[in-house]
Amino acid sequence: MSLLGDLAAKSHIGPADIDAFLRSHRFPLVEGRTVTFVFVGAADEVRLRHWIAGLPPSQIFTRFHDSPMWTLSIDIPEGSRVEYKLEIVRGTHHQLIQDPLNEELARDPYGANSVVFGAGYARPDWVGHDTEARLGEIQEQKLESAAFGDTRDVLVYVPARFRTTRRYPLLVVHDGPDYLKFASLRTVLDNLIHRLEVQPMVVALTGSPNRLVEYANDERHARFLVDELLPMMESRYPLLPQPAARGLMGASFGGVASLATAWRRPGVFGNLLLQSGSFVFTDIGPNDRGPVFDPVVRFMSEFRARPGRPADSAYVSCGTYEALIYYNRSIVPLLQSTGMHVRFTESRDGHNWENWRDRLREGLTTLFPGQLMMVYE
């Protein structure tokens, strides 16, 4: 019997029973694949709001035995991460809140969501601070961009023990400041470099004031990266000159920007790390995602017709709870058909920063493997 069933089996359920139940468990309750969300408080209706494609986006709780406790049990497969909020309805007032019974939060540029871990999910041990890892440094650079007609701020990660007498690979990251804030990219790089799992590398963390336009196959963006950012980085940092030692990385529209730049300017960046790319296309009829996706769909149509060979290697990842999973699955054989080496990973997660964080080790070690077997310090 489930924990909730044990409580329900009591002949009489009083406030003390509810309090004891709440005190003695962590919430949501995870029992195998069954996850039970619990809310306690005054409400006319309580709903679970999540972003799992394929499930109704709003699911209604039921009141537990005329108590002030509301519950909802759903099936969450093993290894899942699910971000959510609770919608509390009181009269005509609807309020989205974080789950008061759950301290686990996942942050993003819009705030924070509650997060539940399915059975078997483990937060990777390389995303937190490792006291033995030497720390890299974040430097600030400014770049006058003729392509955009303005000045761009670029943060640059340089690895621990950086030396000008050595040459480093370069990774250019779209939405770089968000990767630092919400995907712990700096700590991840410190740890993976310390563990010798990825090469010590220089990482250019770029941002955009208008990403939905500039990242959607905007010619100016390719010009900015290839003709302005890359020469600037090469003039200020000791970088390896080969395309095989350069990479583009991005999530969502940042994935589109990475692929589109490599497609427009092949032979410059040898590696692509594409996370939950917004690679939306249509085989027939108009795009149903709104005008912001129109340039993406046009790009994908052109790319699918003439993919060329944008890079040598790609690591592609996407959550199975994302509506984008169909498009990401579709792009893998297309990339492979160009002769690229492609590795694709699906995860039981959604379109969010911690999903992208959790895939960084596999992506970075695929594209920039370190000298794990050769170095013993």
Partner: protein, 313 residues
């Protein structure tokens, strides 16, 4: 020929024990240091020097090699060509190794399966013999590449190298011992070999840790059971410098090897038997003296039954 006195230590970065080891042998005077495994950071030996109270003289093998290659471009090209051949040989060896290792692991998984009683052990023995033969073949193949290189290019007779060796010999003559730090095991091995550093010693003891310990053995084994990609197959790099005998040095084994996985430990120990497969975490010390090993603190060996035992037990 092996060296008369070698002290193998655990990793030194966080818990250094080198000065105690040096003191235990009653050494006075300067100590030569090799930090070539640190590559372009070779000269950043301030911590090491401070730990030994400023007594170190860095032999600067990485820098010397760079100088030789700048001056003697013919030798540089020949060395690069040799290393390319070695790398490709290593790739080909790995192709065979991964299949043979997987076969051995699969057989071990069947050892306890009902109906297979008595049938599996001889198959496992055969699989391990095959692995040992493959490892030996690989060592011989790489050795022949080195022999061919040395016969053709005679590096010690070239002025570029001979000059450096004379300087090194003079420096070493004035030192009470040689300390070899870790780092990139391939780079370290090649620099020590390039200048024949061990042949320039006059019986002084050697202190070595991490990759430094690995290069002194007869056979260098690369290992990591938890790589982000691949199966983590232990592989032989090539013959080491042979300053010690009968040791497979496993620095950071506590972090790099699944020491709780009896099947993996057993396969490792049996494959490299009769060598002492020694886990060398921080603060460990193993002494090579009068052609035998003794363990003073903490060194454990991987055993054929999948367990770990104190060295000397």
């Amino acid at each position: 020929m092996t060296h008369s006195r070698v002290v193998v230590l655990g990793p030194q970065r966080l818990q250094p024990t080198l000065s105690d080891a040096v003191a235990s042998l009653g050494l006075r005077g300067r100590l030569a240091a090799v930090t070539a495994g640190w590559e372009e950071r070779e000269a950043e030996d301030q911590e090491l020097s401070a730990h030994l109270s400023g007594r170190t003289v860095n032999l600067a093998l990485y820098e010397r090699a760079d100088g030789v290659f700048r001056y003697d471009t013919e030798l540089h090209q020949a060395t690069r060509a040799r290393q390319d051949r070695i790398r490709r040989s290593q790739e080909l060896y790995r192709v065979r190794l991964s299949h043979q290792l997987e076969a051995a692991r699969e057989l071990l998984r069947r050892e306890t399966r009902p109906g297979y009683e008595g049938l599996v052990p001889p198959q496992v023995e055969g699989a391990i013999s095959g692995l040992r033969a493959l490892d030996d073949e690989h060592v011989q193949r790489i050795r022949s590449i080195h022999v061919e290189f040395e016969q053709r290019w005679k590096p010690f007779e070239r002025e570029s190298v001979a000059l450096q060796r004379r300087e090194l010999e003079a420096t070493l003559a004035d030192c009470a011992g040689l300390c070899i730090a870790g780092g990139n095991v391939g780079i370290l091995l090649n620099r020590l070999r390039m200048f024949g550093v061990l042949d320039l010693l006059r019986g002084q003891p050697i202190f070595a840790w991490s990759a430094g310990a690995m290069v002194l053995t007869e056979r260098i084994v690369l290992f990591h059971d938890f790589p982000p990609q691949g199966a983590g197959d232990p592989e032989v790099l090539e013959a080491g410098l042979g300053a010690v005998s009968g040791l497979v040095a496993l620095p950071h084994a506590d972090k790099r090897l699944a020491l709780g996985d009896a099947a993996r430990v057993s396969l490792f120990a049996r494959r490299f038997a009769p060598d002492l497969c020694a886990a060398l975490p921080a603060r460990t010390r193993l002494d090579w003296h009068e052609l035998r090993w003794s363990g003073e603190s903490g060194a454990r060996k991987l055993c054929a039954d999948g367990s770990l035992a104190q060295v000397g037990a």
